[in-house]
């Protein structure tokens, strides 16, 4: 037990850098971060105040990296962080935080609290205090290649199914293709029509692409649980496959944290830059649209709104692209009251939806999204993350709201101009 705590505290020490120190030095306990966090606003539970979720990390910083903290520790005047405290903090760090980063946007002194939560998870996991469901997912990711246990034969079956529907083949392991598409297990299992949609769009736009049979998983459980070694290994698999197939770019699909993992954390996890580019599927679709290669006919008449997946939008930087794409196929697109980089999290990312223990809290937090929807009365919600989609559906069902949740990519595919609709005669 003590060995685990030591590993955890060591991980905390390693994670503390100048930004972390500047953040902790600047916090004035104003509490504004709470009002930006959907877990607080929908429960009014002060323990869910974002900065409070970091308290053990803060104490380690104070006691090890400030002169008066070290002084006080030398005189036995400080309280060391205990294993019991880390146990208490597990639900704060994992169940009530998706690392959405909304708190980071409002803190008046500029603290990036989500950045610190990500770092704190490294210590929590090392100390053995990560949720069991996440541990299971991560183990599966390492041994099977997918956190949900999706193996190659299953993907192949889904691909075959799509090919049958499409009437043309889907490229697998094509060397020299421009783009290598990753898929999240969530999509393969719950929204496999995504594969057909992409295939149709890419055929229409004449994109040179492929899927790798050796590295098709986009989800990175390592960054959700906070074990950088595992996160790095999962990224290395993708890097190896991209190198083997000599692709120019890797496409991150409709999954929030997958994008964060491969686009922003990846090179830092493996300690070197990639020799390929990474694009989110929305970035690629927008590029195709700008180049005139994505032509659509017809428009959705339903009143649509867009839910920004936090890791893609606020934390990822892909904000305008989905809007341009949606405006192409929607007659009545209305923004949520607080939108773009200030949109509210759905409440399920960062491992929260994988964690059964967090179910009640997650559904309570959904109320925040519900309030946004109640203000604009859309007919349907469009988003670009499979996890957001499932959780939004869950929340809508829980609160008796009748509203479909659509994938942006699949919606675009529905309105493609030309004969590339399903059931082609080829």
């Amino acid at each position: 037990m003590s060995a685990s705590l030591d590993r955890g505290l060591n991980a905390f020490r390693e994670q503390i850098d100048a930004p972390v120190a500047a953040f902790f030095s600047s916090c004035v306990h104003c509490g504004l971060c709470a009002e930006a966090c959907l877990f607080y606003t929908e429960t009014n539970d002060p323990t869910l105040t974002p900065i409070h979720k970091l308290e053990p990390l803060r104490r380690v910083w104070k006691q090890e990296y400030t002169f008066w903290g070290r002084y006080a520790r030398a005189f036995g005047l400080t309280r060391p962080v205990t294993d019991e405290e880390l146990t208490d903090w597990e639900t704060l760090v994992y169940d009530s935080c998706t690392m959405c980063g909304r708190c980071s946007m409002v803190c008046p002194v500029g603290n990036d609290i989500a950045y610190m939560i990500r770092k704190m998870r490294e210590g929590m996991a090392a100390a053995g205090h990560a949720p069991p469901d996440l541990v299971g997912a991560t183990q599966r990711a390492v041994t099977i290649g997918s956190p949900m246990g999706v193996k190659l034969p299953a993907l192949q079956a889904q691909i075959r199914h799509a090919e049958e529907e499409l009437g043309f083949s889907i490229p697998v392991d094509v060397e020299g293709a421009d783009y290598m598409l990753l898929l999240s297990s969530m999509e393969i299992m719950n929204f496999p029509e995504f594969i057909s949609a992409i295939a149709r769009i890419f055929k229409h736009a004449n994109v040179s692409w492929t899927i790798s049979s050796e590295a098709f998983e986009a989800t990175n459980s390592g960054i959700q649980i906070g074990v950088s070694d595992i996160a790095a290994e999962l990224v290395e698999r993708i890097v190896a496959a991209a190198g083997k197939l000599k692709v120019k770019s890797v496409i991150s699909p409709e999954c929030g944290h997958a994008y964060m993992a491969i686009r922003w954390e990846g090179p830092n996890l493996i300690g070197r830059p990639y020799d390929f580019k990474v694009v989110h599927i929305l970035e690629l679709l927008e590029q195709l649209r700008e180049e005139g290669r994505l032509r659509t006919t017809g428009k959705e008449t339903q009143r649509l709104t867009y839910h920004d997946p936090c890791q893609i939008s606020r934390r990822g930087g892909v904000v305008q692209q989905p809007r341009n794409l949606l405006n192409m196929v929607a007659e009545d697109f209305v923004e949520m009251p607080e939108t773009g980089t200030m949109n509210w999290c759905c409440g399920a990312g960062g491992g929260v939806s994988s964690n059964e223990r967090a179910d009640d809290l997650r559904l309570k937090a959904f109320n925040r999204k519900k309030k946004q929807l109640d203000a604009i009365h859309p007919d349907a919600i469009v988003s670009a993350c499979s996890n957001c989609r499932i959780h939004l559906e869950d929340g809508l069902e829980e609160y008796g709201m009748d509203m479909p949740v659509l994938s942006l990519t699949e919606t675009i595919a529905e309105y493609l101009a030309g004969s590339e609709q399903a059931g082609s005669k080829e």
């Binding site: 500047a22 104003c30 509490g31 002060p46 990036d112």
Partner: protein
């Protein structure tokens, strides 16, 4: 100790000690932060970290609409007492003369009646934020000894300064001034050990925040 001796000590040795602790403390705290360093970001940049960082230092002064709506009192009262404090500290003639003595620079002052009124407004704002801190569930939960100590050492110079200027109190004016200066020295000595450091570190925190986001092409 006579009143003259007290005043001399307070303006002499005590001030030197307080200033030394303040300056040394602030420098050490800032160095401790910077020495930790930050790993270079190896991901391909979408935007400029430096531009983002500098931008956020200033843009974070303006709260987003949602925060302003949800936490109106916190934001407004916070601005009032901060601005008030700076006005009183930097735009009051006797203070400017003191700075001129020490730093050889001077700048225009505000008419004393205005500073006087600002002092009252600032004191009221500080009383209000204390009440709010005690009554708001989140703030009450987050607050500890340090938060209340810092509040005290912040309001004391304002109160003692007002009393000294208006010669209110059962002690002779020189002693009132000595008490005022002591209260400032208390603030200076406490400063590097508390959240008051935010006055210097908030530039860094906002910069890092903006840099991290700016690198990804997001204005934070």
């Amino acid at each position: 100790m006579s009143e003259a001796e007290l005043l001399l000590w307070v303006r002499g040795p005590a001030l030197q000690i307080a200033t030394a602790i303040f300056l040394l403390g602030v420098v050490v705290r800032l160095a401790e932060i910077l020495m930790l360093g930050r790993k270079k970001d190896l991901a391909e940049a979408r935007g400029s970290a430096v531009a983002g960082g500098l931008r956020t230092i200033f843009s974070r002064f303006v709260p987003d609409r949602g925060t302003l709506q949800r936490s109106t009192f916190n934001v407004v009262a916070g601005y009032i007492f901060h601005i008030g404090f700076f006005v009183v500290l930097f735009l009051f003639t006797p203070h400017i003369l003191l700075f001129q003595d020490v730093l050889n620079v001077s700048w225009p002052s505000l008419p004393t009646p205005m500073v006087d009124a600002t002092t009252i407004v600032t004191i009221i704002a500080l009383l209000a934020v204390l009440a709010h801190r005690l009554q708001n569930p989140v703030m009450r939960f987050l607050s500890g000894f340090q938060d209340y100590l810092v509040w005290l050492v912040t309001i004391l110079p304002l109160v003692t300064g007002y009393l000294a200027f208006h010669r209110i109190g059962a002690v002779p004016p020189p002693t009132l001034i000595a008490i005022h200066i002591l209260s400032v020295e208390l603030l200076m000595v406490i400063f590097p050990f508390t959240k008051l450091m935010h006055a210097f570190t908030f530039f860094m925190a906002r910069y890092y925040n903006g840099a991290i986001s700016g690198y990804r092409g997001v204005n934070s």
